[in-house]
């Protein structure tokens, strides 16, 4: 056994309102520069839908992730090492997405709105951020947000294909949910295994997957390798970039920007201990529907003294172990089994997990005498508006049983709390049927509904005093040519004014004029 620590995230889809705050704050922090305009390290998709890039889940097209070869061994779907050389893929990568699969980024020529007075109402036309030409918009980020154009996008969602056709087009039964997506920081990351230069790596201490900008040679195999299409190519620096799990914040014990700013408090971050020696074995589970359980089997109980001893021997520090013991991730994924990995059938062992949504059924259900007859939820969930099969295709490789038992549990917890707060009677034996007790239901309620900051984020601080400067080790180049980060020159000019002896009051009056910030 080799114990390793992995920092991971759970998103409670039940509470996601699709506001895109996570995407926007992430973009402001990380991809607000030339070459990165089209990248969304974090994006929120409306499901069913085509996703971003278009149809990213269609691995027969993009060839992402792993498959089992004839001998039952893991192999990259995009082809082995030899195949990359033999088929000249190094000169041309046939499976790489094109800019149009994402969208061509644009801006508006706002100056025309403020120009000289003219006869006609001025209009800001869309201008490509790549060619600078005017363009007609036919695609963009979240083009199918909230089911816009869903008559087209329904059929393009690969998860819909195995569901009976009558649900697909029937608008009376239309359903939707939001799916926020970021890099999964997989245990068996296909992007890392695809990188010819060895520029992509997992950090030993917390498992965050990063691209060393210094070593990246722009071969682009990571883009194909990643089945979630979460590695992007910067056309300006000609290198790959991806979600960094905000590692500079994580090292300080702070949550990622997307989690910090989530208004619905749906995101949880914590540490989980796993057995690195058994990862390959778990990935080679032949049955797609059992991959979720195979991954669960890798996680180790942080309260087991033997595991703690082994973890210390394998170089995991005490603070990380302590955080793992309080980890909300461990509680939701392993103890309560209400969180699931996104597309475990890609065999990458993703580490951003999701609590399946329940809302539509509860609306339908709460008006009726549900507290009196809590067992009603069992048939009700089978007829849920979001088909359980759809959730199972998304979150458990098609295993509907595990999704159902999680939904039963969540629904029963709600009914119990509803009865408790409204002073009604509730037979605690009902809880037993879904594997809850009065205590565990209450604590699950606190974690999911109250979701206190300190319960959601349990992140160990890195021991900076013991390690060399991090920036050097992680590849010091950074994202160069960062001309797009407009704040630096603004603050720079103010700093210069301050140095020249202008008082703060003067600078304020000069820059903050009539309620409008001028730079």
């Amino acid at each position: 056994m080799k114990v390793k620590a992995q920092i991971s995230m759970v998103l409670n889809l039940d509470k996601c309102i699709g506001c895109h705050t996570c995407s926007v704050t992430c973009k402001q922090t990380w991809t607000n520069r030339p070459g990165a305009e089209y990248m969304w390290f974090n994006n929120v998709e409306t499901r069913p839908g085509v996703g971003y890039p278009k149809k990213w889940e269609d691995e027969s097209h993009y060839k992402g992730g792993w498959k089992l070869n004839r001998k039952g061994k893991l192999e990259l779907r995009a082809g082995s090492k030899l195949n990359k050389v033999a088929l000249a893929k190094i000169f041309y990568n046939p499976d790489m997405p094109n800019l149009d699969d994402y969208y061509e980024p644009w801006t508006y020529d706002y100056q025309t709105l403020f120009g000289k007075e003219s006869k006609h109402q001025p209009v800001a036309r869309a201008k490509s951020q790549i060619t600078g030409e005017y363009m007609d918009l036919t695609n963009g980020p979240n083009w199918d947000d909230d089911l816009a154009g869903s008559d087209r996008s329904f059929g393009e969602d690969p998860n819909m294909q195995s569901i009976e056709s009558d649900i697909k087009g029937n608008f009376e039964r239309t359903f939707m949910m939001y799916l926020p997506r970021l890099c999964e920081h997989c245990l068996n990351a296909a992007c890392v295994a695809s990188c010819p230069s060895g520029a992509m790596y997992k950090r030993d201490e917390d498992g965050i997957v990063l691209v060393d900008q210094e070593r990246c040679r722009g071969w682009r195999f990571c883009m194909t390798g990643c089945p979630y299409k979460k590695v992007y190519f910067n056309w300006n620096t000609n290198k790959a970039e991806k979600c960094t799990f905000c590692y500079p914040r994580i090292e300080e014990g702070l949550p990622t920007v997307c989690s910090e700013t989530c208004v619905g408090r749906i995101r949880y971050i914590g540490v989980i201990l796993y057995d690195a020696d058994r990862v390959a074995e778990a990935c080679e589970e032949p049955d797609d529907t059992k991959l979720y359980e195979a991954q669960l089997g890798l996680f180790l109980d942080p309260n087991d003294p033997e595991i703690v001893e082994q973890a210390l021997a394998d170089g995991v520090d005490m603070e990380t172990i302590r955080c793992a013991q309080k980890s909300p991730i461990y509680k939701m994924a392993v103890e309560q089994k209400i969180a699931f990995p996104l597309h475990p059938e890609y065999r990458t062992m993703p580490m951003v997990w999701y609590v399946p949504p329940l809302s539509p059924i509860m609306n339908y259900f709460e008006g009726k005498n549900s507290i009196k007859y809590p067992e009603m939820i069992f048939p009700a969930i089978n007829e849920m508006r979001i088909p359980v099969e759809y959730l199972a295709n998304l979150l458990s490789g098609g295993n509907t049983e595990v999704i159902k038992s999680a939904l039963y549990k969540l629904a029963m917890m709600r009914l119990y709390m509803r009865a408790k707060t409204s002073g009604k009677d509730f037979d605690p034996e009902k809880l037993d049927r879904v594997g809850l007790t009065e205590d565990s239901a209450t604590s699950l309620y606190r974690l999911l509904a109250i979701a206190k900051y300190e319960d959601r984020f349990v992140i160990p601080k890195s021991k900076k005093e013991k390690v060399a400067p991090v920036a050097e080790d992680q590849g010091g180049l950074g994202f160069e040519q960062c001309n797009g980060c407009a704040l630096a020159p603004v603050h720079g000019s103010m700093l210069r004014k301050a140095k020249a002896g202008e008082s703060t009051k003067d600078i304020y009056a000069e820059s903050f004029y009539g309620g409008i910030w001028r730079d």
Partner: protein, 234 residues
């Protein structure tokens, strides 16, 4: 006067070009290793790239090794093996011609793409354009030298008796420029253009050819990196 120019072109210039190649390569790899990439524009355009890039790369690799054979294997060696001169030349012309036309077709497609596709053109640097044009020129010169000038106008010319000898002499620092004066004019221009490409090679995107990821073949799939402990030299 002819001798002065001969000396400059065939003794001084080759060393300046090769010096620039080695100097630039060392500087680029040692100090600016972080900005070496294949500079792919596949994200912006895919279809033309597929045909152009595969044709060009495979063609140019064969052309490169053809040049290596032509320059470094002396005539005495093939004579020793008993290969007649005519057979050798026919072989070289057919194989070299095929590879050359592959590279030419590829580069024509790639250049057309670079100049006509707005996304690709607007994101190109000046050096990207120079690289495309100079490859076109050098390939056209090379093909016309060996297929037209060498076979029709100067059938008696055998580059292995003078051009290759001179090229080998460069490597032991005794180039005899008189040898190059016997070489027909298109061949000579081709050599100069080729040397120019070597001269700017390390300062342009071409440098990606020197960073083939050999280690990928042997390394384990998942890479872990550990932070260096403080105090350990790094």
């Amino acid at each position: 006067m002819d001798n002065v120019w001969g000396y400059i072109l065939w003794v001084i210039f080759p060393y300046v070009a090769l010096g620039s190649f080695f100097f630039g390569t060392i500087i680029r790899l040692a100090l600016y290793g972080g900005n070496i990439t294949a500079k792919s524009s596949e994200l912006l355009e895919k279809k033309q790239l597929m045909v152009g890039s595969i044709l060009f790369h495979i063609g140019i690799i064969f052309v490169f090794f053809g040049h290596v054979v032509g320059i470094f294997i002396p005539k005495s060696f093939t004579d020793f093996l008993g290969i007649p001169n005519e057979v050798y030349h026919m072989g070289a012309l057919v194989m070299g011609g095929l590879a050359g036309f592959m590279a030419l077709a590829g580069m024509l497609i790639l250049s057309y793409r670079r100049f006509s596709n707005k996304r690709v053109f607007r994101t190109s640097s000046f050096s990207d354009l120079v690289v495309n044009v100079s490859f076109l020129i050098v390939i056209v010169l090379g093909l016309s030298a060996s297929l037209i000038e060498g076979t029709i106008f100067h059938p008696e010319f055998n580059y292995r008796l003078n051009l290759s000898v001179w090229a080998r002499q460069l490597f032991y620092f005794h180039p005899d420029y008189h040898l190059m004066l016997q070489v027909p004019i298109v061949f000579r221009i081709h050599v100069i253009c080729g040397l120019l490409i070597f001269a700017f090679f390390p300062y342009t995107r071409l440098v990606h050819a020197l960073t083939l990821p050999w280690q990928y073949i042997f390394r384990r799939p998942i890479v872990y990196r550990k932070k260096g402990l403080r105090g350990r030299s790094k």
